[in-house]
Subunit: 497 residues, 2 copies
Amino acid sequence: MTCVERAPAESYDLEKIFNPKRVAIVGVSSNGMGFGSAILSALIAIGFEGKMYPVNPKGGEFLGLKIYKEVSEIPDEIDFAIISVPASNVPAALDACRKKGAAGAEILSAGFRETATPEGIALEEEILEEARKGIRVIGPNCFGIYCPKSGLTLLPGPDLSRESGEVAFLSQSGGMAIDFGQIGTWMGVRFSKVVSFGNGVDLRECELLDYFGDDPETSVIAMYVEGVEKGSNFFSVLREVAEKKPVIVYKGGLSDAGSKAVKSHTASMGGSERIWKAVLRQCNAVQVHGLEEMAEASLTFSLVPPRSYEGISVVGGGGALGVAACDVAETYGLKLPVLEEKISDRIMSILPKPGSSAFNPVDVANPLVSPQILKDTLLFAAEDDKIDLQILIQLLYHYKSLAMALGAASVKDVTPYRELADSVEEVVDKTGKPVIIVLPNNKRELQSMDLEEMIRDARDIFLKKKIPVFDDLFDALRAVHHVSKYYAIKQRRWKEL
Amino acid sequence: MTCVERAPAESYDLEKIFNPKRVAIVGVSSNGMGFGSAILSALIAIGFEGKMYPVNPKGGEFLGLKIYKEVSEIPDEIDFAIISVPASNVPAALDACRKKGAAGAEILSAGFRETATPEGIALEEEILEEARKGIRVIGPNCFGIYCPKSGLTLLPGPDLSRESGEVAFLSQSGGMAIDFGQIGTWMGVRFSKVVSFGNGVDLRECELLDYFGDDPETSVIAMYVEGVEKGSNFFSVLREVAEKKPVIVYKGGLSDAGSKAVKSHTASMGGSERIWKAVLRQCNAVQVHGLEEMAEASLTFSLVPPRSYEGISVVGGGGALGVAACDVAETYGLKLPVLEEKISDRIMSILPKPGSSAFNPVDVANPLVSPQILKDTLLFAAEDDKIDLQILIQLLYHYKSLAMALGAASVKDVTPYRELADSVEEVVDKTGKPVIIVLPNNKRELQSMDLEEMIRDARDIFLKKKIPVFDDLFDALRAVHHVSKYYAIKQRRWKEL
């Protein structure tokens, strides 16, 4: 289903927009200043492989590329345009790009409806008219499109990952789009497509959501939304798409003050917290309240098998951590079932004593317990039918003392995180039950950069094996809750049909 | 007021315990294994300046110190003892230390009431009998005392800060004590005294809280509690102490499952969430739900002037951040009042355009705006009577692109965070209104260690100027909420008297 009457989405249009071969960048100055030059540099830095045609009335050259004085001078058809010229020049630029064959354009320029001036509003109307002539518009007042497969990137996104993944993100706010791209990059979220659509004069939440719902490259959809154009249309598309794949929604401006701030940001109308919460629940959309929570949920949805997880085991050192695990799990409606006695006994037989306990959470007593023992603990615990998913907390920073005591050159040399990653991978393969790793870092002072580096290296190694990694047990449990709840409701609704 | 009948706290006793000149460490083995050797190494590493007398029946030497075969062989009186011998030998060791003049002893050994065995319970009774003869006991099943002034440290705390501060922490859990000491170290929390009291056979929450209430070195008290011995006594002490200074309480085991986990951890009885919440509110204690939240509240209480903060200004780049700021502020009952028009206009006159806005939140549009402009923005905003406290968000990681564009050797060379710290200090001095800094890091991949290092360096520079630093706007607003609410209630109650 589509929800915009004026211009039904033809999927080949959007394909051409996400994967252009020939791109005009209108508004590149040869001195390197401004958004146009920044986006061109970013495209080169990220390794966009298509042809790039910079345009500026002054001509010249930038980063070895000839700058054309007019769009019409480009000696080729174009597929897509990136426009960054003063607001009043945007309609003409758009017209020129359409005539060159562009299927779409992203407009980075600001100065339209969000200014709440008659001039700004009129200019935005002109853009819409241009769009209706046959060019899809992303923006204005946006940071554009990031598509790792084709090498399109956001402003200012020269260092986003080129690795493609299954998560699509759509956002009114350009700042949120680049923030989410950056957070995703280190956290291990990999994207199919990211679209920042700003004022959303043409393409916006409704049609994009519908497109991602059918996009075979996308299995998880995340979105930051400040306000929607047509509430009832949006919610019917959301319900339909959320039946196919998880849709994670971060709604900004739910408070009174936030709702006012939305107006001067992306010129949208908000809506009350109560209504949004109720409607998102009805649609089985996953509601989150921050970017990191959204990234954590996206990561978990994309890496663990699609099902509901009732019983969790938590394995790690420190009794108080176990207490906290229980408290947080209960907050999120997750269970940490007591392990069967014979399984507990087997685990206890391999753990150091005193100080350990093996009911669940399993307290391994000593943060330096070997990967072999942790592997066996996880294997034993997985034999309990009540356990669907396991969380392993590893306080790797404690190896620093060992490194100092042994006079090791580097803490990496004495910390068996590579072996641990192999062990955990083996556990997941053998048991079919996912394991999530938590790598907290309580030693974040300037003098302990070596620990930070090691923990990041460990994170990357686990992620390469498709094992989700978190900094914090609370965040891990919250993410599991989101996944679990989504599939539980989905399953229940299927049964009811 | 004191709440333990059997042994009224004489404050000189505790002073001697926190600042001992001569310490026996009972249970140090010459091969360096075990808790006794670990704590002795930690004392040496942190630079404890008193005399240390290791004891072990086998004698020998460790780290250049002679190991005495018996406590009675120590050629001196002792002030304090650290005991780490098998549970069954603890009562005799305690007796010997008392006879040598020790005012107190911390017992690191486990194997007592927390095992729920008749032997463990009986041994703990014996310890209590020894204590009654005239030696104060911390523990058993604890990680001991950290006192930066004297150089006593926790197990395993060789690298905690030697800088003294105003925050006291008491905890049943040893793990929570060392975690909080470590988190505090990087976050900038500085401690007067930290006590991990484990099973709490003698000294525990009630008496320690009372002591910290009168301790001139302590202005903020934080505590992790799993269960209390005598509820009514504890709450009357808590109410009394919270009238004098802020008491931040993290109650573990509020859930059903958590409450069960508490039993096998520190052998305490929990209590329901509803009751705890109500009682903590009545006492005007500050309830938190995690260690980082507790550290953030402690930091803010210790660095901003003691008063309630109604109106907050938020200054930073990115419109969506402003929307989020409003949403979160409202959640915490804080206001972001719209700035007076003439102030807004003055701010707009110095900000880059387009993209900026100056109602509050103030969107500076560009993350590379100079410290001079940020200083003036903060100075102007502070002129509004509705503003009591300001939050400045700085996305320092954006300077990486500038460093790359300029071909700078290091991102530190182009990022003006030292100038910014000077500017912010000047603003605080001139306006008398505190400023809190938020330094998010969205680029936490392995390849960006330089950004992490720079942000940690910036954090330390701000902290040296007594300016609180947070990673995250949400956390900063939550901490301000805790401070503000505590003083608002305190003030209201004073008026009612």
